[in-house]
């Protein structure tokens, strides 16, 4: 465990160093002048020069990168080019929102996908299995935003049960928070549920062919008992892998759902920041996203060893 945490820290630092350098360079190559975008068409040349001096964009790139890195080490993302406000509280606030909808969406997906996928595997030659496999196939093919748009028009506009969009922080008004969080989470979760159902199904199918299940049944377990006691745990490894990959994809992909439901999450902040050439915000958000993905991968690695002790030897 200690070794693993050390490995994580090393991995985190290496990945972040690489990612930060990459995003920093790419952003500087991007056409567009942050000062002009920030100050608008009426800006005087003096105002532009003053802005560049104030935000340090007139300094050499290496110095800019250095001071950004220095801030990062102190947990300070700097100030936004556009609003002039500190980025750290803003990003922390937005990352919570995204983590909430992604977390709830994934939870929903797992609650649906694990039983459904298992059922589909067990009944894979019957009508049930076919329906589930077919439905999940359709689910995989539907993009997130389409589910979002359909949910809005059905649940919010036609039925009027839930708001069409917007956000209330949980601390402000818990009831209102839940009313706002349901649709985005369902939109994110539906597609994931379909994807994971398919993985669970094939993983369980795979496991069902294993000799150890036959042995367990020979030892007197029922088919269901053998599957639950010995099968699911083994089926868990590939499923955890795909859940990790999908979580990372959801974090990045949440931006689409955030747009549809007007949720002020990290994704919408990133898109706005790119449009406004708020380079300081863009690079900081990307670093946060990279860090989250590295942490997710680490948790996935840990889960492997929990699920399958045989992998402990392989894991460092």
């Amino acid at each position: 465990m200690k070794r693993q945490v050390g490995w994580l820290a090393g991995q985190l630092v290496a990945t972040l160093a690489l990612a930060s350098a990459l995003v920093f360079v790419v952003l500087r190559v991007l056409p567009g002048d942050s000062a002009v975008v920030a100050l608008g068409v009426n800006a005087t040349p003096q105002a532009l020069a003053q802005w560049r001096a104030q935000h340090g964009t007139d300094r050499p790139l290496i110095a800019q990168y250095g001071s950004w890195m220095g801030g990062l080490l102190r947990g300070d993302f700097g100030t936004s080019f556009v609003t002039g406000r500190a980025l750290t509280p803003l990003i922390l606030d937005r990352v919570q929102v995204t983590l909430i909808i992604v977390g709830l969406g994934m939870l929903l997906a797992l609650v649906v996908a694990v039983p459904l996928g298992t059922l589909a595997a067990v009944t894979h030659r019957s009508a049930w299995g076919t329906v589930i496999a077919g439905a999940s196939q359709v689910g995989v093919a539907i993009p997130n935003f389409l589910v979002g748009v359909l949910l809005v028009s059905l649940v919010a506009v036609h039925l009027g049960w839930l708001p069409a969009g917007g956000w209330t922080p949980p601390a402000t008004n818990p009831a209102d928070f839940w009313r706002h969080v349901i649709l985005p989470s369902v939109a994110l979760g539906t597609v994931q549920a379909a994807i994971i159902t398919r993985y669970v199904r094939s993983a369980v199918l795979e496991v069902m062919r294993e000799d150890f299940l036959r042995t367990a049944r020979a030892a007197g377990r029922t088919r269901a008992g053998a599957l639950v006691r010995h099968g699911l745990r083994n089926a868990g490894v590939p499923v955890v892998t795909v859940v990790g990959v999908q979580l990372a994809a959801m974090l990045i992909g949440a931006v689409v759902v955030e747009r549809v439901f007007v949720v002020p999450g990290l994704g919408s902040l990133l898109v706005d920041a790119v449009q406004q050439r708020d380079l300081q915000a863009v690079q900081s958000i990307v670093v946060v996203l990279v860090a989250l993905v590295v942490v997710i991968n680490f948790v996935v690695d840990l889960l492997y060893t929990v699920l399958d002790p045989r992998l402990r030897v392989v894991a460092r």
Partner: protein, 517 residues
């Protein structure tokens, strides 16, 4: 679970899969098109209104931050001015009840309204006016501060009288006083302008949630009487579809220019909603780089003016909403006249002019910002130009960053299309240093003379300037963008004509409610 898992044939499975897919698809389609019978629009009563607006203010300080979103929210509603530009574009009293102008038109004596207080309780006096006008010169960094350059000094005569001396007579100055540059702040600013707004208007900013909403609360002690609404929530919805959904779900009561023309056409059919179309100050301009060939040749520019069917462009890009105008002058401007007949749609004359200029097989590049109205308009323009033998190649520029950098700053373009939103921007746009590079040597002295003349001379002089600019075709105004408001039928007092940058909510109220609530 106990059944054997082998022994079934595989073939029916495929058929069942297909059936399941079809069933699912049908269900989803049905959900999409289900009738709109059950929905209600809540919030029809009481004194609360929620408005959807597209562009969010970066902060609350328009003295140091440019961008239309801040004055759009704050002017008239929170901050007021000595004079107001009314819905017909006329200068009318606001914080000044009347004003006297000296014979040489350089001295203005403003008689201030009495019994006015700021939202924090401070009384409004001549000191506030003097300090506010002085601050434009000393503390403002927004480039619009230039509109007050003509002010030589501002003096307090007594507690309710102010004397302003101009360095030269100026007709446009009094008008500009009705825009954000004339906003009256408390003499002593002991609060952060970026996060707080203390004005004399009927509303006060009570909550700001970045990325989401700003809440205005009505004042009971406003000089014009208690504010008609207790709460105005302005929600910032960038995506037009999200805005329309919010309206149809009853989350918002009014869309202020936050839906597209096509969407508004759809919403017009809804009996619970009203659509109000007003004018704006936003002219959609097909701009030429007058510095470079082929647009340094007036014959080519005029040929383009004849070649483009502006009515068709407006119908396509704005679903027919808007006003056809020929110049960057709105129907509310005193020197407005209809000049759309100067260049009628006439492809034959366009071809003749191009031939005369030796440009029968002209290729031009067309820089189009990635904004919906611009890309739609551009495609139609390209096909209309093709009809007169001009090949225009579209390059899409990300807006604002790339467009500002390439077209606006570096002038690296031949032709572009963009909406110019600022009020009274005719002389800004057709200025030699602006991105169009228009040769203003003939019009600049005429415009200066008009500004310094009597109001009659001003109108006559500016009309002449406008006619010259239109005739020169340095850029072609395609249409004047509309202000499109879709609101619950129960809302009254909608002021749709955006004559200045302000979204004027001061008269907005629910028709069914009297005072109190």
């Amino acid at each position: 679970m106990g059944r054997p898992i082998v022994g079934r044939m595989a073939r029916p499975t495929l058929r069942r899969t297909t059936a399941a897919v079809i069933a699912l698809a049908v269900t989803m389609l049905a959900a999409c098109t289900a009738g709109s019978t059950a929905q209600q629009y809540p919030g029809g009563e009481g004194r609360e209104v929620t408005i959807a607006v597209a562009a969010e203010p970066v902060n609350l300080d328009f003295t140091t931050t440019s961008g239309a979103a801040i004055p759009q929210l704050l002017m008239n509603n929170v901050y007021e001015t000595l004079v107001k530009i009314d819905q017909d574009g006329k200068v009318v009293p606001m914080l000044a009840t009347r004003w006297d102008v000296s014979a040489d038109r350089t001295q203005y004596t403003f008689h201030l309204r009495q019994g006015v207080t700021f939202s924090d309780g401070r009384p409004f006096t001549a000191d506030d006016v003097v300090a506010s006008f002085d601050r434009v010169r000393t503390a403002w960094v927004n480039a619009i501060k230039g509109k007050m350059d003509v002010v030589e000094r501002t003096e307090k005569v007594d507690a309710h009288t102010v004397l302003v001396t101009l360095s030269r007579p100026s007709n446009s100055w009094l008008y500009n006083l009705g825009t954000s540059v004339g906003a009256i702040f408390p003499a002593k600013i002991d609060f952060d302008l970026k996060t707080q707004a203390v004005g004399t208007g009927p509303y006060v900013v009570t909550s700001v949630r970045p990325g989401d909403r700003i809440v205005l609360t009505g004042r009971n002690d406003w000089w014009g009487g208690p504010a008609p609404l207790r709460t105005v929530t302005v929600r910032y919805l960038t995506d037009p579809t999200a805005a329309v959904n919010a309206l149809r779900a009853g989350d918002v009561d009014m869309l202020f220019n936050s839906a597209t023309g096509d969407q508004v056409r759809q919403l017009q059919k809804d009996p619970r909603l009203q659509v109000v179309e007003g004018t704006s100050t936003g002219e959609v301009l097909l701009s030429f780089n007058n510095r470079v060939p082929p647009f340094d040749d007036v014959r080519v520019r005029r040929a383009f003016a004849y070649a483009i069917d502006r009515k068709a462009v407006m119908d396509t890009a704005s679903a027919g909403f808007g006003t056809l105008v020929a110049a960057m002058v709105t129907p509310q401007d005193p020197f407005y006249e209809d000049l759309t007949g100067v260049f009628p749609f006439d492809p034959a004359r366009a071809r003749a002019l191009l031939k005369e200029a030796g440009q029968q097989h002209l290729h031009v590049t067309f820089d189009v910002p990635n904004l919906a109205y611009a890309t739609t308009a551009a495609e139609l323009i390209v096909s209309q130009l093709a009809d007169v033998g001009v090949t225009a190649t579209i390059t899409t520029d990300e807006f604002p960053a790339v467009w500002l950098d390439k077209v606006f700053t570096r002038h690296d373009f031949q032709m572009s299309v963009i909406q110019h939103s600022e009020a009274h921007d005719l002389l800004t746009v057709f200025h030699r240093d602006y991105y169009l590079g228009y040769d203003d040597s003939k019009i600049a002295p005429l415009a200066a003379a008009a500004d310094a003349g009597t109001s009659e001379q001003y109108v006559a002089g500016m009309k002449q300037v406008v006619r010259m600019i239109v005739d020169d075709a340095g850029g072609i105004v395609l249409y004047l963008a509309p202000t499109l408001i879709v609101a619950d039928k129960g809302l009254d007092g909608i002021q749709a004509n955006a004559v200045t940058e302000s979204m004027d909510l001061t008269a907005l109220r629910w028709a069914s409610t009297s005072s109190g609530g």
